[in-house]
């Protein structure tokens, strides 16, 4: 970086020279250095944008193109049909069934997952022995391939031979038809998602908790706030930005759920009677067994728009919460001096 200053600042001995002329006098090495200064940042970020264009923008645009045609998977492009694929998807009861299933599985997974993740993160944020061990342990489910998770859980929740069925039987309870009834199948699938993602989200939230200045807690403790009070009054408000991030990523992930319901019953696309067919499984069924690529592409775009809407809704809710929250921070006057003092550090 030091060399760049000689380029932009004209030499004090020749103040009359224009910078442009000064540049032409530069040695090759200086020119290279100038080029480096101007261009290398773009080179650094270029791979991402080129990759993004290749595997992000292009497929999205191409899908839009496909969705406007009568497009057979095997026979290829047919006639231009405009938005007909969209209207036929939106008027298909199977689409709305898939939409309902997706929302249901999402709620059953995201809500308990975030609650547990927050609690686990708060526990890991305490002074524990073998911290790294515990932190690594909660991430273990995440490194198991989702396919393996789905296969194992499909066994666990096997209506006839699974251990859950065995447990129910042991207590003399009626067997639950995990793969046949709507709600039980959603619970089984949500449990796979929760098993896999709770630890991951807990680690992200833990990182946010670790970033909270410790002296805030100390001050609160001096004020007599107990652990629970400190958690609600300090931890929760201060991890809110991270929480919003976690909520948005799990919304996107939840709406795109595929592997778990697909493998819960591998021979069908979300259950014999579509009990747990999600939007992406509906899309898959349209694209492959039914070979209607145009409608599948339209479904992909509808899903894309749904995700954007959900993201905007998340954002709006998050903003509303944030503005509401300014007041409670201002009100407890007793707290302020401590906070200020802690910011001033030892200089009081």
């Amino acid at each position: 970086m030091s060399s760049t200053s000689t380029i932009t600042t004209p030499s004090p001995t020749s103040p009359s020279r224009k910078p442009t002329r000064a540049r032409s006098d530069l040695t090759f090495k200086q020119k290279l250095s100038h080029f480096d200064h101007k261009a290398s940042p773009f080179l650094y970020i270029a791979p991402f944008f080129i990759l993004f264009a290749l595997i992000g923008i292009f497929p999205i645009a191409y899908t839009l193109n496909v969705s406007l045609y009568d497009w057979h998977l095997l026979k290829g492009q047919g006639d231009w049909v405009g938005l007909a694929n969209y209207t036929s998807v939106l008027s298909d009861p199977f689409f709305w069934n898939a939409f309902g299933n997706t929302v249901s599985i999402f709620l059953l997974s995201a809500v308990p997952q975030l609650l547990f993740a927050t609690v686990i993160a708060a526990l890991l944020d305490q002074a524990l022995r073998a911290k790294t061990f515990w932190r690594m342990s909660i991430l273990l489910p995440y490194i198991v391939a989702p396919v393996a998770v789905a296969v194992i859980f499909a066994q666990v929740f096997n209506q006839y031979t699974g251990p859950v069925a065995g447990l129910l039987n042991l207590f003399g309870l009626e067997p639950i038809r995990w793969a046949f009834d709507v709600l039980p199948s959603h619970i089984a699938i949500a449990s796979m998602v929760n098993w896999r993602w709770t630890g991951y989200n807990a680690l992200i939230l833990l990182a946010a908790m670790q970033a909270i200045p410790r002296d805030v807690y100390e001050s609160a403790a001096l004020d007599g706030a107990n652990k629970v009070r400190r958690f609600w009054a300090i931890t929760v408000p201060m991890i809110r930005p991270t929480m919003i991030f976690v909520v948005i990523t799990s919304t996107i992930g939840g709406l795109q759920i595929f592997t778990e319901p697909k493998l819960f019953d591998g021979r069908t696309n979300g259950g014999g009677g579509r009990q747990f067919q999600t939007i992406v499984l509906y899309l898959y069924e349209l694209a492959f067994p039914r070979r209607d690529f145009g409608r599948a592409a339209a479904t992909a775009w509808i899903l894309f728009l749904i995700i954007i809407l959900a993201g905007l809704a998340n954002y709006a809710i998050a903003r509303a919460i944030r503005t509401n929250d300014i007041k409670p921070v201002k009100i407890p006057a007793a707290k302020r001096p401590y906070v200020t003092r802690s910011i001033n550090g030892g200089r009081k």
Binding site: L43, P47, F180, R274
Partner: protein, 429 residues
């Protein structure tokens, strides 16, 4: 220092491009030390794998890279996706009868086996099997492997305990022999249920498929294009019969597939067995089991019919078409069909292959003379014409209805039929 960074940046950029570029290049047919690698994709229990080692021994320059997918549905979706992508199909691909019609709509994805000499051996196959593998333009895209003549798998031990005949010829006779009807089948079922307090079969699905395949025209008219379901009283009456049997407690309410633990527990006593199903039932048990109680009878309610059967095709995108076609034709030749039969049960579609297995018995099925039984079960049978949505209708129109019947949620034949018609309308109509 700055220039070093620029260089580092460009190297990093180049590396990313290199990764992208190599990621896209297909890794087809590696040829280190002059060997040719041929990929083969099969599904289910086809028994084709019985022959790979021999072929590699006889042809030291060939390495076979085999993939076996769990079910026909997975193989179908896999093949569709790769045809659509225009790349990725194995050199040799197994195609199921149920979706062969769809493949023939884009038969250009597969080579014309006439270019590789299939015509010279054409008369080895049953006539109709050879014709099935031929598309509308006369291109032969599939070399026939097996056919699906059907007999009845049953549990001799459970039959005996329930006071029914258990010896296989007596069983066949008891069901009505050559004049066996579905009514009689369900009647025997009711006797079994009354005597044993157990279900007679695991799911009504397979018996239904069998029935549909018995009709001269199934889900489609014989032109393979016009649907033959709405207003079809033959199908509707049979559905009512199935519902009645379920109401009487004949079914165990199980899913169609993967019911091994229940078989071991003796939860059901019969299984509809087209030739390729033998391997599936056997697969429910540990290898080498011979005392499972399963037996195999020369009888099919409603008369003989074909259900299923596979073909081998060679993909147009193969880099070694000649070698792949040679392998496909060899695998579909009588001797290899016979070897597949011995391993897994799919009955040969060649006349000589059938002769080779005529004396074959199956240890798992109480040493039943399966070769002889299947030959008898295939006599005069011609496969029904399938339409493009045939497998979709089987799985997604009637499949869910049978699930609900099996779970006791539909107890009326008319309701079942109406529900199927709603699904048909939404999925195909």
């Amino acid at each position: 220092m700055s220039s070093r960074r620029a260089i580092t940046a460009s190297i990093a950029g180049a590396a990313v491009f290199a990764i992208v570029a190599t990621g896209c290049s297909a890794s087809a047919g590696g040829s280190d030390d002059g060997k040719i690698t041929l990929s083969v994709t099969t599904f289910g229990t086809m028994g084709v794998d019985a022959n790979y080692t021999k072929y590699m021994e006889e042809n030291p320059n060939i390495v076979i890279e085999a993939t076996n997918l769990e079910g026909g549905g997975a193989a179908r979706d896999d093949a569709y996706a790769k045809i659509a992508a225009g790349t990725g199909l194995s050199d040799v691909v197994a195609i199921e009868e149920g979706w062969l019609g769809t493949i023939q709509e884009v038969s250009g994805s597969f080579v014309d086996l006439r270019d590789y000499g299939i015509e010279d051996v054409a008369d080895e196959w049953l006539d109709w099997k050879y014709k099935q593998g031929t598309d509308a333009d006369g291109r032969v895209i599939g070399a026939g492997l097996d056919i699906g003549p059907q007999g009845l798998c049953y549990r001799g031990d459970l039959f005996e305990a329930a006071g029914l005949p258990s010896e296989r010829t007596e069983v066949a006779e008891y069901f009505g022999g050559d004049d066996a009807t579905w009514e009689r089948f369900y009647e025997v079922g009711a006797e079994y249920v009354a005597a044993s307090d157990k279900a007679f079969y695991h799911s009504p699905r397979f018996f239904w498929n069998s029935f549909v395949n018995q009709q001269e025209e199934g889900y489609y008219k014989s032109d393979g294009e016009t649907l033959n379901i709405e207003g079809n009283d033959v199908l509707k009456d049979q559905l009512a019969l199935v519902v009645e049997a379920e109401n009487a407690g004949l079914g165990a309410g199980l899913p169609g597939w993967d019911v091994g633990p229940q078989a071991k527990a003796g939860d059901y006593a019969t299984y509809m067995c087209p030739s390729w199903m033998l391997g599936i039932v056997q697969g429910y048990y540990d290898e080498g089991t011979t005392d499972s109680g399963w037996d195999f009878a020369d009888v099919l309610p409603g008369g003989a019919a074909n259900w299923g059967g596979a073909f081998l095709g060679v993909s147009e995108s193969s880099e070694h078409k000649e070698e792949a076609a040679a392998l496909a034709l060899w695998l579909a030749a009588p001797a290899q069909q016979a070897a597949s039969f011995e391993l897994a049960g799919p009955f040969p579609s060649t006349i000589e292959g059938q002769a080779l297995v005529a004396d074959s018995t199956n240890e798992f099925f109480n040493n039943a003379p399966v070769g002889e039984i299947f030959r008898a079960r295939s006599e005069g049978v011609i496969a029904q014409v399938k339409g493009p949505e045939d497998s979709n209708i089987q799985d997604n129109v009637f499949g869910p209805v049978f699930d609900r019947i099996g779970q006791g949620e539909i107890t009326d034949g008319d309701v079942a039929w109406d529900e199927a018609m709603v699904l048909l309308d939404q999925l195909v109509g």
